[in-house]
Subunit: 228 residues, 2 copies
């Protein structure tokens, strides 16, 4: 099994603040799992008892609403942590994590992380910063959900997908989402999302080839997201 010390994604998250000693301790007790596209990493109500560190792949983090529809809260890229919230509050999972592309994740058991949090102020400060940043993002999302139209939210989502996950030479977004997932991110019905995507396509703001989406007119998208 590969070691944390040699893992590239370690540089991307709070683990970078750990000492060599702390890191090798974690490396010794971590376990690695492969999660195929569509499989769930954990579900609402699960006792996670640790945190996951995504070493490859992308997953969606979502929650079921009372009316039975899934709301995607955010998308998690490689290098990110998953499950810290539950760990810190000693709580069951509030959200569900499902692989969108095939993933490789490392699981670090609870006690190991808690020890480091209590003993390494730099590490706990870094986790605190991550959490604070997540909170800011969540607050901004609340405002968008409450105040923006579906069209605005779709435009904004496309821009943020491009920013977070990038695109290839043909300017196709590197992330592949189903129409349903797109709808569940912006909080609308699948048909509404599809309709707006076609509208964007007709107006040559984006192009659609199967699951490939490419942004043809970013400035226009930005204007739409702002409400014009």
């Amino acid at each position: 099994m590969s070691k944390c010390e040699q893992c590239i994604v370690r540089q991307l998250n709070s683990l970078k603040t750990l000492t060599a000693k702390e890191l090798s301790k974690i490396s010794a007790c971590k376990t690695t799992r492969i999660i195929k596209k569509g499989e769930t990493l954990f579900d609402e109500g699960d006792h996670i008892n640790g945190v996951f560190c995504i070493s490859a792949g992308i997953c969606k983090v979502s929650k079921m609403s009372a009316n039975g529809r899934e709301q995607i809260i955010h998308l998690v890229n490689k290098g990110d942590f998953l499950g810290e919230r539950s760990l810190i509050n000693d709580d069951v999972a509030n959200l569900k994590a499902t692989a969108i592309h095939d993933m490789e994740v490392c699981f670090i058991p609870r006690d190991e992380i808690i020890d480091d949090l209590k003993q390494n102020p730099e590490f706990s400060m870094s986790v605190l910063k991550d959490m604070a940043m997540s909170l800011k993002n969540a607050h901004n999302l609340i405002v968008d959900m409450a105040q923006k139209t579906v069209k605005q939210r779709l435009a904004e989502m496309l821009l943020s997908l491009d920013k977070k996950f990038g695109h290839n030479r043909d300017s196709n977004l590197d992330i592949h989402l189903s129409r349903e997932d797109i709808a569940n991110i912006i909080g609308t019905a699948t048909e509404s999302a599809i309709r707006l995507l076609s509208e964007f396509k007709r107006e040559e703001i984006i192009s659609l080839k199967g699951k490939n989406i490419s942004l043809l007119n970013v400035p226009k998208l930005k204007k739409i997201a702002q409400g014009f």
Copy 2:
């Protein structure tokens, strides 16, 4: 000026984990302000450079959306902190805080808190827990905003106001919000909120006397919030 050591609200937040020494240091450098109803404590973009501890009163925490409407993210009661997010990320304020009832707040300058965060693991763990809990609440709010109807959100809000701020002998809610604030919490137009309040009144689920609201039929409200 009164001292933190004798302040009752200290027991309600993370300050309770501080040692006597740390607390008296904070007590020595804090400043106290009175904020009248309607006045703002800080605005989006402000450099706060510290945290506020609410010793009395209630305030709303909100953000302007692109279309010029205010979205209230949450309400803050006495005993809560304000501004930790900005402090931890070394960022300007992302939100605006406005007094809803007259307030007394204590301001603790940045460096003082940062020192304690780095040196007292119990304190930083407590702040981390608060932040994690806020994040959970924010996530749940995102789902509600995206998936529930305005009617459901109004019912839910009334229940949570009752839970968080309580009510007096006549079962009138202790918190007094304008119709506009109510609308800005649930993310709708003022007229829509008013219309639904009248509907609840007609069905004798609540009663309205000026700014006094009392919940007459809590079970019914819970059903409405769940979508029946």
